[in-house]
């Protein structure tokens, strides 16, 4: 019989993988390091500051296969106060780089919405690169759970 963990309690998020001893292949620290590396490549080695950028994501994913997230950056979108690009990363995915959005003055505002697949509970990171060279980031933990027991 094919094992299907979703069957047990009614496991909504098909890809739920938890930190059971010996099962997790990619330790959290390694995943975070790879993410950090990719962030640094994006920012040109500059440590992002907090503020300006807001990442929105659900606390718990309803469906790990398609998790809605949105990101927005405070900006006048003209002159030096211009968001050039925003990178979205998912720390726990095999390849953390999910998407990069590019903006121009014509964009009017720096905001974007997308859906992503999350295989397990992890941090989602958004990094904004401004025209003046400054970089900002925001992080949200999204939980991917078996669920099925709410009463």
């Amino acid at each position: 019989m094919k094992l299907d963990r979703r069957q047990v309690l009614g496991l909504t998020a098909g890809a739920a993988v938890l930190a059971v001893a010996g099962i997790r292949v990619n330790p959290a620290s390694a995943a975070a390091e790879e993410t950090k590396k990719q962030v640094m490549e994006f920012t040109g080695g500059k440590e992002p500051a907090s503020g300006k950028i807001t990442l929105k994501a659900p606390e718990i994913a309803e469906n790990g296969n398609t998790v809605p997230i949105s990101v927005s950056v405070e900006s006048a979108m003209s002159g030096d106060d211009l968001v050039e690009s925003v990178m979205i990363l998912a720390e726990g995915n095999p390849n953390p780089d999910v998407a990069t959005f590019h903006f121009t003055e014509m964009s009017g505002e720096a905001s974007a919405t997308t859906r992503m697949r999350l295989a397990k509970t992890q941090n989602v990171v958004a990094v904004a690169k401004m025209k003046d060279g400054s970089v900002y980031s925001d992080t949200r933990l999204v939980k991917v759970t078996i669920g099925g027991c709410g009463g």
Partner: protein, 565 residues
């Protein structure tokens, strides 16, 4: 912050009068009935211009019930040791309630069986109707808002057979001003819409959005004028419905706590002139305790879902939080005094619905008879008898689920059984018959199949850790409500305060005492999977066969979970 306050204690005390020892049930019962009156129960420090009545989580119980309150309800971190995470003697001490009194019986499991025999059942929608009518008469219709907190349509034989229509027809007579939901959605999107179109009062949900367009599915807010005060009621449905229940039944709808959306709706209500903002919530107590601190401008949250019965509203900053229990046991009431667009005074309590004391409302009683009539023979059909107390509530176990796990193991020939940690389901006293109605009160649902699968020890741990993290997460925004999944055929140790992955240990098969091995497979049965197309008999059919075969059941209260605090 509210710690202890005097509230109505009533004058009767069956426990003290009879020492709780060996007296015939009829004697104590007569005494309780004689001394406690409907007027006592309705006594209230009336105040101000607006009265909110809160009725929630009735789980389709039209008739009065026995419902044993939990003996374990652990709070984590900042939420430990404060309401609603107080049970038994601690609860009595905190709220200054006398042992053996009506409130002790309504709110705790202390001397439960003796007091149940003395004070009788609580609830019954005909009794609630009497209270609602009396309060509307006392205050004037123009001052009272009656709010239905949801989990109204699911949980009984008749609600399952009528797709919730029995509850809709009866609730209509109470003329609710608004409602919110959770288990309602397990009737599926089409049925939910069909009922809402027809029911004649708004179904509010600020936090449900269309998956494709990200647009609100329901109205978020309803405005009322009560006692000359403009009151906004905002609905908040159970945020994790698509995770806790089958998402495939309402695939187009996305939920979530969505504090930012709520803040926008609160601000909009204020801008539209609301002097009082009420959140009609199905979030659960701790979620709403936190929500009150991150969303500003809410005057009152009336909350449900976690079935907590807290005798009075609790103040969290400038927000009042009232949680009115479940199964029709209570009617929650808050009176508000509003001056210059601000709440300047309030009084509140939960009115315990003592069914032997409160008169039956004839109009509602007739309607209840009407919806039950077609099913009467089946409802009353006796399938067995219990020698021991059968109850469900508690963080880890209850004897009803011990019986269900026993049934799953024996009927589906498994080593281990899992029964979901639902908080709905009532209680049977030792010596009571078990009827079809009683069985469905524990198992009535729209996805009842009992699966039979193989899982490794590692997968069992993974499952228990996951459910445990939903129950004992330090951040209430990650708590889904419900209790720990019940386990049969296996024992384990739980450390609620540990982090995920470290809470479950010492998992052993009960039959041999052997520890579960991570890579060895075990045969597991369980019910209420949220997956589509689950194969297996319905839990109520399986349990009917099981109980009929046993004739007499006896489930001693022997917890198989060791809790490390």
């Amino acid at each position: 912050m509210f710690t202890r306050r005097d509230f109505l204690q009533y004058t009767v005390n069956a426990g003290a009068a009879l020492g709780l020892a060996g007296y015939g049930a009829n004697v104590t019962r007569a005494l309780a009935q004689q001394k406690l009156t409907q007027d006592d129960l309705l006594k209230f420090d009336s105040k101000g211009q607006v009265t909110l009545l809160h009725f929630t989580d009735v789980h389709a119980q039209l008739m009065p019930v026995y419902f044993r309150p939990p003996d374990t309800n652990i709070g984590i971190g900042d939420y430990a040791g404060i309401p609603p995470h107080l049970v038994g003697e601690e609860f009595l001490t905190h709220f200054g309630i006398e042992k053996g009194s009506p409130l002790a019986y309504a709110h705790t499991m202390v001397d439960y069986v003796e007091l149940a025999r003395a004070y009788g059942r609580l609830g019954g929608l005909d009794r609630t109707a009497t209270l609602v009518k009396a309060i509307r008469a006392e205050r004037g219709d123009d001052k009272v808002l009656f709010l239905d907190g949801g989990d109204t349509w699911q949980g009984s034989y008749t609600s399952l057979k009528s797709n919730g229509q029995d509850m809709v027809d009866c609730m209509k007579l109470l003329k609710p001003d608004a409602m919110v939901g959770h288990w309602e959605f397990t009737f599926g999107e089409d049925r939910v819409k069909e009922i809402i179109d027809d029911m004649g009062y708004p179904f509010l949900a600020s936090n449900i959005f269309d998956n494709e367009w990200d647009e609100p599915v329901f109205e978020s807010t309803a405005m009322f004028e009560k006692g000359g005060v403009k009151v906004a009621v905002i609905g908040q449905a159970m945020p994790y419905t698509p995770i806790a229940n089958p998402r495939w039944m309402f695939p187009k709808w996305s939920f979530g706590i969505r504090p930012d959306t709520l803040q926008e709706n609160v601000d909009k209500a204020r801008a539209d002139g609301a002097e009082v903002v009420v959140l009609l919530s199905h979030d659960g107590f701790d979620v709403d305790r936190k929500l009150a601190s991150v969303v500003s401008g809410i005057d009152v949250i009336v909350t449900g879902h976690t079935h907590d019965a807290v005798p009075q509203a609790i103040e969290i900053g400038s927000t009042l939080l009232l949680s009115s229990g479940s199964h029709g046991k209570y009617l929650g009431r808050i009176d508000l005094e509003v001056k210059d667009g601000k709440v300047v005074g309030h009084s509140s309590n939960l009115i315990p619905v003592f069914s032997d004391v409160i008169q039956s409302d004839p109009e509602m009683a007739t309607k209840i008879d009407e919806v039950r009539k077609p099913h009467e023979a089946e409802l009353n059909r006796v399938i067995g008898k219990t020698e021991s107390l059968l109850y469900r509530r508690g963080n880890f176990n209850g004897t009803w689920d011990d019986l269900i796990c026993q049934g799953v193991i024996e009927q589906r020939d498994t080593q281990i059984a899992l029964s979901p940690g639902f908080r709905w389901g009532t209680t049977l006293l030792p010596g009571q018959d078990i009827t079809i109605e009683d069985l469905y009160t524990e198992t009535s649902m729209s996805y009842p199949s009992v699966y039979r699968l193989e899982f490794t020890g590692a997968q069992m741990k993974e499952i228990l850790e996951d459910v445990c993290d939903n129950l004992f997460n330090k951040d209430p925004f990650f708590q889904q409500g419900g209790d720990m999944v019940r386990v049969g055929g296996m024992s384990y140790t739980c450390s609620p305060n540990a982090d995920m992955g470290g809470r479950i240990s010492d998992m052993r098969l009960m039959s041999t005492g052997e520890p579960l091995e991570a890579d060895k497979s075990y045969v597991v049965g369980g019910w209420a999977s949220v997956n589509e197309n689950v194969e297996g008999p319905a839990i109520y059919d399986l349990m009917e066969k099981h109980i009929t075969g046993k004739q007499v059941v006896n489930l001693p209260d022997q917890p198989t979970v060791k809790v490390n605090m």
